[in-house]
Amino acid sequence: MANILELKKIATDVRIGILDAVYNAKSGHPGGALSSADLLTCLYFSELNVDPAHPEDENRDRFVLSKGHSCPGYYAVLAEKGYFNKSELTSFRHTGGLLQGHPDMKTIKGVDMSAGSLGQGFSVACGMALGAKLDGKIYRTYCILGDGESQEGQVWEAITFAAHYKLDNLCLIIDNNGLQIDGKVKDVMNIMPYSTKLKSFGWHVINIDGHNYDEILKAFEEAKTVKGKPTAIVAKTVKGKGVSFMENQAGWHGKAPNKEQYDCAIAELEEYKKSLGGK
């Protein structure tokens, strides 16, 4: 298991990367990127069997960011991992820039699937997992899904499909930050109780705090031991996590900070990083 302190430092750099990307783009989705930053960091720096030197290796683990709008965090993690230069982050959403507003597998190294239209990436991940079963390959497929995204009917088609085909090589991670554009998920269109629903659909469910590294890493380990059914990790998270004025504010779903807000957020993250010790 990876060093948690190291993971926290990387995740803080990832959060700084998110702010850099969104601030320079003057648009984008910081809230959900920040809520899933710890999950993504743990995936790429502890869990996934991937190698930036061989991004097309057919035996690599697969990852799909179904909530594609959270890509500033995904891009920041991929950059930290070495798939492309970190300087690309400031070209996010720019004409001619590498990093599209939503993930594009055709141009961005390390992206296993283009995503952005909600509800679709999860089904694609099911296809990847099914393909592994068919070929007897041992790679695993991971997918991060939004809680608001789960209002899409297709998500429940995929939940049914994955259980039907016993995709135990599929690990779904739900970024349960409780907020969406129009407000609280429970007010806009309540999808709770998530765990009960997933269990009744035949899934193994693990409930965790999506910012507690110990719980995240243990959940990944547990998922690998489950046979005959897919696993869903329902991660309770805080939208905007790590930037105090963005935390738990639906308004920061899809809005870029101004200069003052950006400076303030970076200062807070740098201070946190310093508190973790080391360089």
Binding site: V64, S114, S117, S123, G127, M128, A129, G131
Partner: protein, 315 residues
């Protein structure tokens, strides 16, 4: 002419035949395997067949996922639920990443018959051809349907194939017949006008040619099996040669082959183009043969359109 065969039947048989050669082929269906004829593949290769249940949107995205890990997925349902219901899934999860998924839609057009308007998709070609990079093919008989399946197996990229429910004649049984994506086939020469048809309308175009010949009118017939990429070279040559085009398709005259032909010619050789097809209305219930007569989707209907085109040409 040999017995009539539905192109969906030819599709199912082709899948089973090529499935033995191409081991990466996997087939997905949405509870319609008996109707789309993917059941023929299912029987032979059950381990490579996946019923997705009545959940088309998930099915097309699962197909996308399978293609990213090296499979050649053929995903089938009725045209209405493929191009119609799952347009956005196909656009964003197959078209945009240019994935190697073969969308094989059956029960297209009004020849579906008794099921009526909700199941008669006359808009699929229009929808699919607006997606950048999508190959769109509407075969004219069982021979061409099989050839198209083989061609898209060898082609790397997304493709939409349209098959019908109604048994139709074999017209491509000549030993010289050769199918190539994007290469139209000239079936007959003519001097006064050119009929550009696809799907089941190709046979009707050939009959219309005979009828017109009896009246002293000479028309060429082109089988434009691929709507995208359109064979603009052949089209331009015909426009220059005969100076009048009639398109014929079992599809709305808006968006399909007729529109594609107009778009291709208007900027380079704007000859009269008259579109024959479903005149921007919904279908209805009835036996296929009666509906074909009702909507004038026959040789007689083509003859009428050719005469309109000729009258415009003379002005």
């Amino acid at each position: 002419m040999a017995d009539k065969i539905a192109t969906r039947e030819a599709y199912g048989n082709a899948l089973a035949e090529f499935g033995a050669v191409y081991k990466d082929i996997v087939v997905l269906d949405a509870d319609l395997a008996e109707a789309t004829k993917t059941c023929i593949f299912k029987k032979k290769f059950p381990e490579r067949f996946f019923d997705c249940g009545i959940a088309e949107n998930n099915m097309f995205c699962v197909a996308a996922g399978l293609s990213t890990v090296g499979k050649i997925p053929f995903a089938s349902t009725f045209a209405m639920f493929a191009a119609g219901r799952s347009f956005e899934q196909i656009r964003n999860s197959i078209g945009y990443p240019h994935l190697n998924v073969k969308i094989c839609a059956t029960h297209a057009g009004i020849s579906v018959g008794e099921d009526g308007a909700t199941h008669q998709c006359n808009e699929d070609i229009g929808l699919m051809r607006t997606i950048p990079g999508m190959v769109v093919i509407n075969p004219s008989d069982a021979v061409e349907a099989k050839a198209a399946v083989e061609a898209v197996i060898k082609y790397q990229g997304p493709a939409y194939l349209r098959f019908g429910r109604l048994p139709i004649s074999i017209i491509n049984d000549s030993p010289e017949y050769k199918f190539e994506i994007g290469k139209a086939i000239k079936l007959a020469d003519g001097v006064d006008a050119t009929i550009v048809a696809n799907g089941m309308m190709v046979e009707e175009a050939l009959i219309a040619r005979e009828m017109l010949m009896a009246e002293g009118i000479s028309v060429a017939v082109v089988n434009m099996h691929t709507v995208k990429p359109l064979d603009t070279e052949m089209l331009l040559a015909e426009a220059q040669q005969t100076g009048a085009i009639v398109t014929s398709e079992e599809h709305n005259i808006i968006g399909g082959l007729g529109s594609a032909v107009c778009e291709a010619l208007c900027g380079v050789c704007p000859v009269p183009v008259v579109r024959h097809g479903i005149e921007d209305v919904f279908g209805k219930s009835g036996p296929a043969k009666e509906l074909i007569e009702h909507y004038n989707l026959n040789a007689r209907g083509i003859v009428e359109k050719v005469k309109v085109a000729l009258s415009m040409k003379l002005k």
